[in-house]
């Protein structure tokens, strides 16, 4: 007996063996996928709940591999500005004053609503006051890797930087094994905001705790000059020399990587996360994605925070990723729809160390599933569902979302919490932020 059967679907499994089922069904038992089959015409399997996908696309839940959830409160706060002005005059002052525990909860829930309604079932977050982030994520129904921020400056919730690694380790201990959907992690902000001792100590703590280690790397061309003690070395080799690169390390951005950096990352087994829209909007540049893929590096896809995007829409991010690299390389065959959809599903799962559990519609994997409605002029006709998911579908086409066998979204409505009060709270915070300027 199944708990749920989703039928009458085009199933984009993202499983190499199963491929795309042009007319199929997926059964769920408990928190797992129990059955993936073509429509047979035989007796349908017994199930407690049957959901008609009405010919829409059933796919694995998307994985947004880099977010700063509470920054949804700063969505559109400041745009089109030089990076230093944007950060120093807008983002940092707003963070210093308004990243309170209550506001972190509001911003996190707002972001979780956007993610779930847009077909994202897992995210990888790094921010401060991550304890409040984790509590909100736990309530939201989303699956997440959550990294407590480490930075060598006073930060929200950690007034003395000397405590930053200890604080992060406490966060990991507190959340390990506590909620099946939450994997606690340590997030060092970057090699230019954390000294070498902090970087090494934070990675050491993560290693001892068996926790993922996240870090921004090589985002801007000017980064080498910002790293004290690196003597203009490549930030990647600097991290490597500090012993930070291994298969539990998740590197974010990687816009400025040379061939040696790429070899170094590939050899270490570290994963990368690509945030094309944020890198474009902040004028950082474009990751050498085709070279990373050719080197066999696992690359996930992320939106970055809403302040530099200005959304958490992974469908839009897929579209941008597929197009950006074609223009940069002047080669229309790079960053294919297939490669990009893999980045947002299976490769993203591998990047987060969860490749065995999520990222594909495969029997035995966690039932993180999304139904995309395709009966719209904008999605008609369909020649290739994978092309459509990348080049034509948008987050607003998501109809249903299941995380670990539990419905989070049905018929475009979030079931896990009420969005209206969260939006009202977010508007009230925005009013305060506007008033303080």
């Amino acid at each position: 007996m199944l708990d749920c059967l989703i039928h009458n679907a085009v199933v984009v499994t993202q499983d190499d063996d199963l491929g795309v089922l042009s007319a199929g069904m997926v059964g769920v038992r408990g928190d797992r996928i129990a059955l993936v089959e073509r429509n047979g015409g035989g007796t349908p399997p017994e199930t407690r709940e049957a959901v008609d996908a009405q010919g829409g696309i059933l796919m694995p839940g998307l994985i947004n591999a880099h977010t700063h959830l509470p920054m949804s409160l700063f969505r559109g706060l400041a745009d089109d500005l030089p990076l230093a002005v944007w950060l120093n005059e807008h983002i940092f002052p707003a963070e210093a004053r308004f990243i309170t525990p209550d506001n972190v909860r509001t911003g996190t829930l707002l972001a979780c609503a956007e993610l779930l309604l847009g077909g994202v079932t897992t995210c990888c977050d790094g921010y401060f006051r991550e304890n409040e982030v984790a509590a909100a994520v736990a309530d939201s129904g989303l699956r997440a890797v959550l990294g407590q921020g480490v930075i060598d400056f006073p930060a929200p919730g950690v007034s003395d930087p000397a405590d930053n690694v200890v604080h992060a380790a406490q966060f990991v201990k507190r959340w390990q094994g506590r909620n099946g959907r939450i994997t606690p992690a340590i997030f060092c902000h970057s090699p230019y905001t954390c000294g070498g001792d902090t970087l090494a100590a934070a990675k050491q703590a993560a290693r001892e705790l068996g926790a993922p280690f996240l870090i921004h790397l090589a985002e801007t061309r000017g980064e080498p000059a910002l790293i004290a003690g690196a003597e203009g070395r490549s930030p990647t080799r600097y991290l490597d020399a500090l012993g930070l690169l291994d298969s539990d390390t998740i590197l974010v951005h990687g816009v400025w990587l040379d061939a040696t950096d790429i070899q170094c990352i590939a050899a270490s087994g570290a994963a990368m996360v690509h945030c094309p829209e944020s890198n474009m909007k902040l004028a950082s540049g474009a990751m050498p994605l085709p070279d990373l893929l050719a080197a066999g590096i696992t690359v996930g896809l992320g939106t970055d925070g809403a302040a530099s995007n200005n959304d958490l829409d992974l469908f839009g991010e897929m579209d941008t990723a597929a197009k950006l690299h074609k223009a940069v390389r002047r080669d229309p065959t790079v960053a294919s729809a297939r490669e990009v959809l893999a980045m947002a599903t299976g490769e993203g799962a591998r990047a987060l160390g969860m490749g065995d559990r999520i990222g594909a519609v495969t029997p035995g994997k966690l039932a993180d599933l999304v139904v995309v409605e395709t009966r719209h002029p904008r999605l008609t006709p369909i020649y290739d569902p994978v092309s459509h998911l990348v080049y034509a579908a948008r987050s607003s086409d998501v109809r249903d979302v299941m995380v670990g066998g539990q419905w989070a979204v049905r018929n475009r409505e979030l079931l896990t919490f009420a969005t209206a009060p969260v939006m009202a709270d977010a508007r009230a915070v925005a009013k305060q932020i506007q008033g303080a300027r």
Copy 2:
């Protein structure tokens, strides 16, 4: 007495004097905007119909300045391929066999539904069998400049290329003054698919008829080598030498323009249309947009056909345009939200020679209006409505659309024709195209 009053709106007028009204109302009488006011608290004006925007954004209808409407039938037919393979093995064969009058009507209606539902009230199209395109556009409620294609090869509806200019001139005569929403035009495909005599004759015909003249220009780096008789000259100077550049000429793409080309276009008064997503997807490159704007050239924004995008979503196109140039120039201040929204509204109107009638919410202009719903986590909070329209809103956020005082979309439903049979027809055509491969 007004015919319609849209109230309780954030009005993004795109009118330099009126700016953004954070709480305003817009009145319509006949086909024109009659009133644009802040909420006053006095007696509301008398009106036959009152529409509550519920705090959403009221803006001018968007202008998609370059489309090939019937190519909606080829949406996602072939992706991630070298340009020659894409064109010669997929698009051209499909056009030769399937661009019948009936299919042109189906593809055009499908595209019009997508455009109107996505907040586009005016498009500028160039294709073959434009007579059938015009008949469908007339029925759809969309406003459009429609250019009959001219090419020195046998084309759908014009088997003998010797007739191409005569055929285009006949199309213009047939549609001039026939439908207030349709401006007929002549669309020469490009300087590399039309000989110099054809180009000169087509422009001469357009000039005599007082019709806009559209042409693809400088789309790929290799274009100079493709132009017979141009001896490797810049395509722009080649067109200029032929006398094709004037204020009634609309140039599309302009990816490969040098400083002299840009001066030449600026001096001629010709307008440009930027199609960033198509240029990216086909790996053509990025238009030098900041240089064109600095030279004072009027630049509109277009999606190009659905075969190379793969949608006609001008919200997504704005987002991409704003981000692409920041990455290319490594300057986050270029292609600001304000500049890009202008390209999709007032500057687009000017590019099409309609700057006096459309592109802004100004009393006396045609009532081409769009209401964008903003009560969604993805659009919360709002600091700056212009930023939101470019960086966060999507075509799916469009709630209501009015063209010339007539509702085309209310509450996300198209009122002008039934979309279900059009989508069914499009799916049937796609099945035939798939079967023929």
